[in-house]
């Protein structure tokens, strides 16, 4: 793409209806995202009728900035109240909440907002340079590659849990077990539904996530092990202060997270959910102080937040270049693109390159807007934390119920939320981490579907998983990662057994 394209794209974006749409989307997205349980997908679906009345670019700009904002804003209830906004942010919610418990809520918010914005901007620039090429690469991924990627994502759960890999794997298996509930897509047979129609659709991760994190936290408040976030210190806190130092300190973590997020995020279907998990796991693996992870350490938070937002923009690439939506949000966006006569396809890039470039610019601007809006959010956070516990708990409970109801508009979701909350409380009291359960519920179906698809394609031969070059590479990495701890244990028969 040449300079003229960039100038043309800039002039499209710097038109006032587009800028107004970006700002409106940002404010709306931020509000929806900050309410626990309301998701970016929901925010986007509600926008569709509005886009009927808008010109093509403002319509897309509205969706882009709403999603970018909603996903980052989802980190705020995660940090303050331990209610993650997305399955991706469940990877690092314990880390940021641990910071809040230390009285450093503002630092945690600072990190997640600033590195989300930086990650998102990195992703946008990366896409400007490699967009169509990246889409071409992503198009070569079949079920074999997706299977191995899902395996890689699952294995990070052992790294994420601070209470030892064994309990991490137990939690993960529980999550995968929950994910098998519902109609099986291969045979169409109901599994573990006990004749309950609502269970035919499976157990949605959102009520489980809200229940296990937020409702369990309320329950814990009544027990002796309760830990409350302290009221923030009275000295005035300056948002974004000291972040330059963090960026210098963790520049490799930031770059690694952002580039990983951009690459994995472009893979339709699995990308967005696992990018932050792999980034967080990698950060711990390469860290000089892995023992600090899970206790309110900034390093993993930096890397995972960066990768979360970087992956967001690249999910649009396969959608724009090949019309293959990676998630519900891009599926809605593809629909809007068609409706506006901007048919997705490589022709969108060759015939009218200013248009996709303008969409990527929109991402950049939306992420820039995170700074002023995030500033206000961090300022407001201290007030949230200084509210007395007896007022916070009922409000959180209302949001728990609201969020789990809104996912399918049924009370069934609320029931799931309460049950998951009770289970989550009992599990955590006994040292089993919660985050791997969420990962299991999200990735379980991905793993199963891609495994079955691959087996059907390979006529039941397991060697099929190594027939394709990319699959063979990722597969080898997964197997090595699995074998390394085993070999290490066998080589040191005298060492004391790992504490579990």
């Amino acid at each position: 793409m040449d300079l003229n394209t960039y100038l043309a794209a800039a002039s499209i974006v710097l038109d006032w209806p587009v800028l107004a749409a970006i700002v409106a989307g940002a404010v709306y997205g931020f509000m929806v995202g900050a309410i626990p349980g309301l998701t970016a997908t929901m925010a986007t679906a509600l926008l569709v009728p509005v886009t009927f009345f808008l010109a093509p670019v403002p319509a897309i700009a509205l969706i882009v900035s709403t999603t970018a904002m909603a996903i980052t804003a989802g980190d705020i209830p995660g940090t303050l109240l331990r209610i993650p906004g997305t399955p991706a942010s469940a990877a690092y919610v314990d880390e940021s909440y641990a910071l809040t418990l230390k009285g450093k809520a503002e630092v945690a918010l600072n990190i997640s907002i600033m590195f989300s914005a930086l990650g998102g901007m990195f992703g946008a620039i990366f896409l400007l340079i490699t967009g169509p090429l990246l889409a071409k690469v992503a198009l070569n991924f079949s079920s074999f590659e997706f299977f191995w990627l899902a395996m890689l994502g699952l294995m990070t759960s052992a790294l994420v849990s601070s209470s030892g890999p064994v309990k991490g794997y137990v939690s993960l298996m529980l999550g995968i077990l929950v994910s098998t509930v519902g109609l099986d897509i291969t045979s169409g047979q109901p599994r573990f539904t006990f004749g309950v129609v609502e269970l035919y659709g499976g157990i949605s991760f959102i009520p489980v996530m809200i229940g296990m994190f937020a409702f369990a936290e309320i329950l814990r408040g009544f027990s002796s092990t309760a830990a409350y976030p302290p009221a923030p210190e009275t000295s005035a806190f300056r948002p974004f202060h000291g972040m330059g130092g963090l960026l210098r300190k963790y520049k490799w973590g930031y770059l690694r997270g952002a580039s990983l997020g951009t690459t994995i995020g472009a893979l339709p279907g699995v990308g967005g959910d696992i990018a932050a998990w792999i980034a967080y796991g990698m950060s711990r693996r390469f860290s000089k102080t892995p023992e600090k992870f899970g206790t309110g350490h900034e390093e993993g938070l930096v890397e995972a937040s960066s990768s979360n937002n970087a992956g967001l923009s690249s999910a649009w690439i396969p959608a724009m270049v090949f019309g293959i939506p990676g998630d519900a949000i891009t599926a809605i966006a593809v629909g809007v693109l068609y409706m506006k006569g901007l048919n997705p396809g490589p022709r969108l890039f060759t015939e009218n390159p200013a248009m996709p470039t303008a969409i990527i610019f929109t991402f950049f601007i939306a992420n820039l807007l995170l700074f002023p809006i995030g500033y206000l959010a961090i300022k407001g956070a201290r007030h949230v934390l200084s509210i007395r516990r007896c007022y916070i708990v009922p409000v959180v409970l209302i949001f728990c119920i609201l969020g789990s109801f809104a996912i399918n508009n049924t009370l069934f979701g609320v029931g799931i939320m309460f049950a998951a909350g009770l289970a989550g409380y009992l599990l955590e009291e006994n040292g089993f981490p919660i985050a791997p359960i969420i990962l299991g519920i999200v990735l379980g179906p991905v793993l199963e579907r891609n495994f079955i698809m691959s087996m059907q394609i390979a006529d039941g031969k397991l060697t099929g998983f190594f027939d394709r070059p990319i699959a063979a590479c990722i597969g080898t990495v997964v197997i090595i990662l699995l074998l390394v701890p085993v070999v290490r244990t066998l080589r040191q028969p005298t060492s004391s057994p790992n504490p579990i």
């Binding site: 986007t44 070569n140 279907g269 068609y338």
Partner: protein, 328 residues
């Protein structure tokens, strides 16, 4: 103070309840309050997009909000059962799809055509046969010959096993006296992942509507060979049909139609039927449908009912041929 509040709440609850009851008696004024439209498929898909466009039109015409609610899961089953189980008062309606004709034969009761009041059809798009752009076959005849010559080597996908996409492809092979298992089905979660598999060269055939394959076709990654239909599509007039190629009668036409629970008051369904007809003739609605590559295929209640019953007969025998339904 507290007591008075409680009394107020009770009073408003009673009012709300009696309002609900009285509206079912005085149906002439329907709708008097917001109507819920249940969509059994996820936000962003074709059914969702068309349902939202219809809902918006109804809202403008009838002066009450028509709220679209996605109740997804279980291959559309959860949403369809929710529509069927709703109170037949006209305030919970839905958009139903061809899957309603298949659940019963799979042994899942509760969402058969008899459980609905069929109001009218607004869209129907035939399923197409799509292959990779660099595939060695240029016509559906060559593809079928290749399936015959090398049983088991040509893998097809597009939906779950037993999904419409699967039955359409298996039914074609079946009506050509080829064992459907000669082209093994790869179960996928809809057409998007199947198209991805096709582009990645993991499978050979995707049976899905040409509009869902369109972007990859335009990208030069895939090509559409034929339409599984008795008549050519207005949107793709150059695409031959399998009926003209093979001289068979196999036309599994997926529909999208308005429906309510069984026993919907006559006034409500009649009003909706005529509004739906007007909507499908509305310039704005037509423009929307064309922009998304959806065809408009209006049928009134009687015509829609006939279509539904005919599809059921054809699909159930296709399901029996691949062993997904019991042969009676």
């Amino acid at each position: 103070m507290k007591l008075r509040k409680l009394a107020g709440i009770t009073a408003s609850l009673v009012l709300a309840l009696s309002g609900g009851l009285s509206s079912s008696i005085v149906m002439a004024d329907w709708p008097e309050r917001p109507v819920t439209i249940i969509v059994p498929w996820s936000a962003g898909g074709g059914t969702d997009a068309t349902a939202r466009a219809v809902a918006q039109q109804l809202e403008e015409r009838l002066g009450q909000p028509f709220n679209v609610v996605n109740r997804t899961g279980g291959g559309g089953l959860v949403g369809h059962i929710t529509i069927a189980n709703a109170a037949p008062d006209g305030y919970t309606l839905g958009v139903i799809t061809i899957e309603t004709t298949m659940y019963d034969a799979q042994g899942i009761p509760g969402a058969t055509p008899e459980n609905f009041t069929l109001i009218g059809r607004f869209n129907a798009d035939a399923i197409g046969v799509n292959v990779r752009a660099d595939a060695p076959y240029d016509t559906v005849e060559e593809l079928v010959e290749a399936v015959k010559a090398n049983p088991g080597s040509i893998k097809a996908s597009g939906a779950n096993r037993g999904g419409l996409s699967h039955l359409a492809w298996a039914g074609l092979l079946n009506s050509l006296d080829i064992d459907p298992e000669a082209s093994p089905w790869v179960a996928s979660d809809g057409s998007a992942p199947a198209m991805q598999q096709l582009a990645a060269d993991a499978i050979q055939v995707v049976s899905t509507s040409p509009s869902e394959a369109r972007s990859l076709v335009e990208a030069g990654e895939a090509k559409s060979l034929a339409l599984l239909s008795n008549e050519r599509s207005a949107a793709y007039p150059d695409l031959p049909t399998t009926t003209e190629t093979f001289d068979i009668n196999w036309s599994p036409l997926p529909f999208r139609g308005m429906a309510g629970p069984a026993g919907l008051p006559e006034e409500v369904s009649a009003k909706l039927e005529s509004e739906l007809k007007a909507i499908t003739e509305d310039a704005k609605f037509i423009e929307f449908m064309q922009s998304r590559g959806f065809s408009i295929a209006y049928q009134d209640s009687a015509g829609f009912t006939e279509t539904v019953m005919n599809s059921r007969d054809g699909l159930v025998s296709a399901m029996q041929s691949v062993g997904l339904a019991k042969t009676n």
